[in-house]
């Protein structure tokens, strides 16, 4: 299986999951204007090349658009859901600085992310039995060491309800 592109590591799941910019719920659209040539756009180009895949992976419902060579200087623009637009000038900045700045302004903080992870863990209690969508297991018969499902393997006679009632009736007589 050949590797595609110049830095195929950008296509790996591990790299994408390492991305730490999660936008706040208010951000709906992100737009990047940059130039393909020129020293001042270098940081923006690197940002688009390395960090945009991570951002899009973590924010699947945010629309991210790239515009090339439309303006003399590069910038980012965020469109929030109440119509507010946030402009970030990135001329001459390094891609690391750009991503830090973006995370500070528009991204969810560490504590918020952790609180959300906690809440998610609490909702999914492994002790719950139910539909596959919400719980790990549907029936106790799926667990190793428990009585297997009577639908597949017949229960021994002594454990069936009808045998037991029969014996109880016989004893009564």
């Amino acid at each position: 299986m050949p590797m595609k592109g110049r830095f195929p590591i950008r296509r790996t799941l591990e790299y994408l999951q390492k991305g730490d910019i999660v936008f706040k719920n208010r951000v709906k659209i992100m737009t990047v204007n940059y130039n393909t040539h020129g020293e001042l756009s270098e940081g923006a180009r690197k940002f688009v090349f390395f960090n945009i895949p991570q951002i899009q992976y973590k924010n699947q419902w945010v629309q991210v658009m790239m515009f090339k060579n439309m303006t003399p200087s590069p910038f980012l623009k965020f469109y929030l859901d109440d119509g507010e637009q946030v402009l970030v000038d990135v001329e001459g900045k390094d891609h690391k600085h750009i991503s830090d700045h973006v995370r500070k302004i528009v991204g969810k903080t560490e504590e918020v992310l952790q609180a959300e992870a906690q809440a998610k863990m609490q909702e999914s209690n492994p002790a719950n039995f139910g539909p596959r969508k919400y719980c790990l297991r549907e029936c106790i018969c799926e667990v190793d060491g428990q009585v297997p499902c009577p639908g597949t393997i017949a229960l021994p006679k002594e454990m069936t309800g009808k045998y037991r009632t029969m014996m109880a009736a016989a004893q009564e007589e």
Binding site: L87, V88, D89, H101, I105, V106
Partner: protein, 207 residues
């Protein structure tokens, strides 16, 4: 599939029917309207299973109670969920949180604004410098060109002067005879000798 029947067909069927039954007849199931009844079912009158009234009363009561309890529980849980959702969306805590978030957002926007201003200043300075640079270069180029033109003019002038000087030595119709006389009187010897060391000897014998 079976329907209760009443009317003229009832009298005939009642003779053969069992005692307590409600009369039912077959309704179209698998067979279409043109299919005849099966031979084994020709005189058959179907009857629902018998019901014990005492048992029915007891069962109805118990089922009623059970279903009431289940419905109550379900609604109870649903209400709890709705209340939790309502509290989260429009409760007092939610307002606090919203206010806090708005404030933090404003702070961050201000920070971003400052950053943009800083970049703007840097950019203005940079653009100014670049403009000055280009202006200077243009100026220099113009100067250079002017200098070159001046030099060309000077060279041309020099050539003209040289020509003027040479013109004094030209042979014209008036000088012709005089110059011929002079040339004949002074024979010039252009021959020279050179030895291996590079010494030039101009005095040779004229022939």
């Amino acid at each position: 599939m079976f329907q209760v029947i009443g009317g003229r067909s009832v009298q005939a069927a009642r003779v053969l029917a069992p005692r307590s039954a409600v009369l039912v007849e077959a309704v179209r199931g698998r067979k279409s309207r043109t299919d005849p009844v099966a031979k084994s079912k020709v005189g058959r009158i179907k009857v629902p299973p018998p019901v014990d009234p005492v048992e029915m009363v007891v069962l109805k009561e118990r089922y009623g109670e059970y279903q009431m309890i289940m419905r109550a529980l379900r609604l109870e849980f649903k209400e709890e969920m709705l209340r939790k959702r309502y509290e989260e969306d429009t409760g007092s805590l939610a307002e606090e949180r919203a206010r806090q978030e708005a404030q933090e957002h404003r702070v961050l926007m201000d920070f971003n604004h400052l950053e943009n201003q800083r970049m703007l200043k840097l950019r203005i300075v940079r653009v100014q410098m670049e403009k000055e640079e280009t202006d200077r270069k243009k100026f220099e180029v113009i100067l250079q060109r002017e200098q070159e033109q001046q030099e060309i003019v000077k060279e041309k002038e020099k050539e003209i002067l040289k020509l003027q000087e040479d013109a004094k030595n030209f042979i014209t119709l008036e000088n012709l005879d005089q110059r011929i006389e002079e040339a004949l009187d002074n024979p010039k010897n252009y021959n020279f000798a050179i030895d291996k060391q590079g010494k030039v000897v101009k005095q040779t014998m004229l022939q």
